[in-house]
């Protein structure tokens, strides 16, 4: 089973179409989503959170999965994006572009803020990527973690960022369409990357840095680039987050959040974009599903009164159980369509 080349692995599509095909498919879906769920705030909210988590997981997967660098500070980049985009957005709040309907003008501003937030995060990603020239494995991990914590402290001490109370009043302009658009972009980038020479170079670094370097791969450059791209999207995710969550505060971007994203990446299978997507969706839904499950058990009685706290320890145990069941992650390093045929039609013997 080969683990590469997305473009080549989808047969039967005229080459001229392949470049734009995903966009052609995605746009109507996004439009449908935005309209279809207009009256369902909870579904919208959950899907938005899910979208943000997908962006985070897919982007982290570029560094952790594809490049094999071990970053556990993704929440830090997310925070940079969230706060920068939030502050910019707050300052633009009173303005609209004349001649455009307000809704459109809002989306234009939102896009602008997201880009600014993303770029700010990308710059941070560059700064954090630099140490990766010298550090490996767990040492790199702890540096990224430390970086995330430093960002948290900075935010906590900056009045412009609302300190511990956080920023509120950011225009809530990020709808499912915008979230979906960025999910689409990040997935497209990740997949197309994986199918290109660049992606192969990243894998080569993951497998053996010395050999990759000897085969002409600018390993340091690639590592830094992977960091930059990954943190750009984390920043965008943060920016989106800030535009549909009524208030952002430092407590939302602690290393626990980073860990959640790492869990998504590993659970999806290191290097597998679809895996990261599925895991992110699953892990976002899990707590809510547990909530539904426990609520269904009845609201009376002493145990049921405590139901909602039970979610978290159960969530922890489920992580353990899932990893034990599928240690290689959902799809291993493969993608959904490479694995699915094996699961679906018939169970091959020899595969216990």
């Amino acid at each position: 089973m080969e683990s590469s080349s997305a473009p080549a692995s989808v047969p039967g599509i005229p080459p001229a179409l392949r470049g734009v095909l995903p966009a052609l498919v995605a746009i109507p879906i996004l439009v449908l989503l935005e309209w279809g769920l207009a009256g369902a705030p909870f579904a919208t909210y959950l899907l938005s959170i899910m979208g943000v988590n997908v962006i985070l997981a897919v982007s982290l997967n570029i560094v952790n999965g594809m490049t094999g660098q071990f970053s556990i500070g993704h929440a830090g980049f997310m925070a940079v994006g969230a706060y920068i985009a939030g502050v910019v957005s707050l300052s633009l709040k009173e303005i609209a572009i004349s001649g455009l309907p307000v809704v459109v003008s809002d989306q234009v501003f939102l896009l602008l803020c997201l880009l600014v937030g993303g770029l700010a995060a990308a710059v941070c990603g560059f700064l954090v990527g630099l140490p990766s020239l010298r550090l490996r494995g767990d040492y790199l991990a702890i540096v990224t973690l430390g970086f995330g914590e430093i960002i948290r402290v900075v935010v906590q001490n900056t009045d412009a960022f609302g300190r511990a109370l956080g920023l509120s009043g950011i225009p809530q302009t990020a709808g499912l369409g915008m979230v979906g658009f960025w999910v689409f972009v990040v997935v497209l980038v990740a997949r197309r990357l994986a199918g290109s020479s660049h992606g192969r170079s990243l894998w080569a670094i993951r497998e053996d840095e010395v050999a990759a370097e000897a085969m002409g791969v600018d390993t340091t450059g690639y590592k830094v680039r992977a960091f930059v791209i990954s943190s750009f999207f984390a920043g965008v995710a943060g920016g989106l987050f800030a535009h549909f969550v009524p208030i952002i505060n430092p407590g939302s971007f602690t290393f626990v959040k980073s860990m959640e994203v790492v869990v998504m990446v590993v659970m999806g299978g290191l290097g597998s974009t679809t895996g990261a997507i599925v895991a992110a969706m699953f892990l976002t839904l899990l707590p809510e599903a547990l909530r539904s499950g426990f609520t269904a058990m009845g609201a009376e009685g002493s145990l049921a009164q405590k139901v909602d706290q039970i979610r978290m320890p159960v969530y922890g145990l489920m992580l353990v159980a899932l990893m034990l069941l599928r240690p290689q992650g959902l799809f291993g390093t493969k993608e959904l369509w490479e694995v699915l045929p094996r699961w679906l039609p018939r169970r091959r013997k020899g595969l216990a």
Binding site: F70, L135, Y139, I150, V153, V262, S302, Y315, L319, P327
Partner: protein, 306 residues
């Protein structure tokens, strides 16, 4: 001047606790190459075990020497068992799998413990912090001036224990057969098995020692800061991990030096600069140390011959 001295003592005292926790971290990392994110939470569980024991002993008995020893024994023994179970069921099945896999189960265990202990069902303690009983009655060991500088008996005790443990562990790792086995397992457990080393047992025992250490450290920590809470492990665990990395993770004296350094730096940042920036400085130091010495102060970056 007296203030400086007091800060020095405070810094050493908190560094000592970091050191004790960091020792366990470093040991487990040493053999498993696993960042055991649940380590802090194991420590927390240990403290609660000690707390329960003290409670069961009652106000008088818990202060007697025997009582104290019993409390430590129960907590450390209990945690050794807990560590064994965690290793056996959450880490061992993943031994041959990518390292990150075990990291996730570690995170899972950490969530389960820290959130689980916030429940108040049955014997579980609930989220509120509790006062840890004064099992060691604090007495001044040294007083300078008009209580300008005070050194307490438990501060001296913790420091001695930390240094003693460090020496002991260093001896264990470098001078004993078991230590040699540990190191062999840490580099390559498959080959270690070819040398006749029972790798599973070595790892399990290391884990148990590490967890027992965590419990001991946790008790000293609770004695020092007089409280226990389900979330206490998260924070101390993180700081201890940072300390271990500063010293060079896997390196026993390094963990202690890194921890004392971290304790002192934090103390002085708070004492003489802005207390709000303490954590930023702590992590800043970490990053600077790693940039200057990518393997930590004492660690070696694994020699790789091409």
């Amino acid at each position: 001047m007296s203030q400086l001295l007091q800060h020095l003592i405070n810094g050493l005292a908190s560094g000592t606790i970091y050191a004790l926790v960091a020792l366990g971290y470093t040991m487990v990392y040493g053999v498993l190459k696993l960042i055991n994110f649940a380590h802090g939470d194991v420590m927390m569980v240990g403290v609660y075990m000690g707390y329960a024991t003290a409670f069961a002993l009652g106000k008088q008995a818990q202060k007697s020497l025997l009582g104290v020893v019993l409390i430590f024994l129960v907590a450390m023994g209990g945690c050794a068992l807990l560590g064994f179970l965690i290793e056996r069921f959450a880490y061992r099945p993943l031994r041959e799998k990518p390292r990150l896999t075990a990291l996730i189960t570690a995170i899972g265990i950490s969530f389960a413990l820290s959130y689980g202990f916030q429940l108040d069902i049955g014997f579980l303690p609930g989220a509120a912090p509790r006062a840890f009983p004064e099992i060691i009655v604090p007495t001044e060991w040294l007083i300078i001036g008009d209580r300008d500088v005070v050194v307490w008996n438990w501060q001296v005790m913790s420091l001695l224990i930390a240094v003693g443990l460090m020496v002991g562990l260093q001896y264990l790792v470098f001078k004993t057969r078991f230590g040699r086995a540990m190191r062999a397992v840490s580099y390559d457990h498959r080959v270690a098995a070819l040398m006749g080393i029972p790798t599973d047992r070595v790892i399990a025992v290391t884990f148990m020692i590490g967890s027992a250490l965590a419990a001991g450290a946790g008790l000293l920590y609770a004695i020092k800061d007089t409280s226990v809470s389900p979330l206490m492990g998260l924070y101390v665990g993180l700081k201890a991990f940072v300390a271990a990395v500063i010293g060079g993770i896997g390196h026993v004296p390094g963990a202690v030096v890194g921890a004392l350094l971290l304790g002192l730096v934090e103390e002085f940042v708070v004492g003489y600069a802005a207390s709000t920036w303490r954590d930023a400085v702590a992590f800043g130091i970490l990053i600077i140390v790693l940039l200057a010495k990518p393997g930590g102060l004492f660690g070696r970056v694994a020699a790789e011959k091409v």
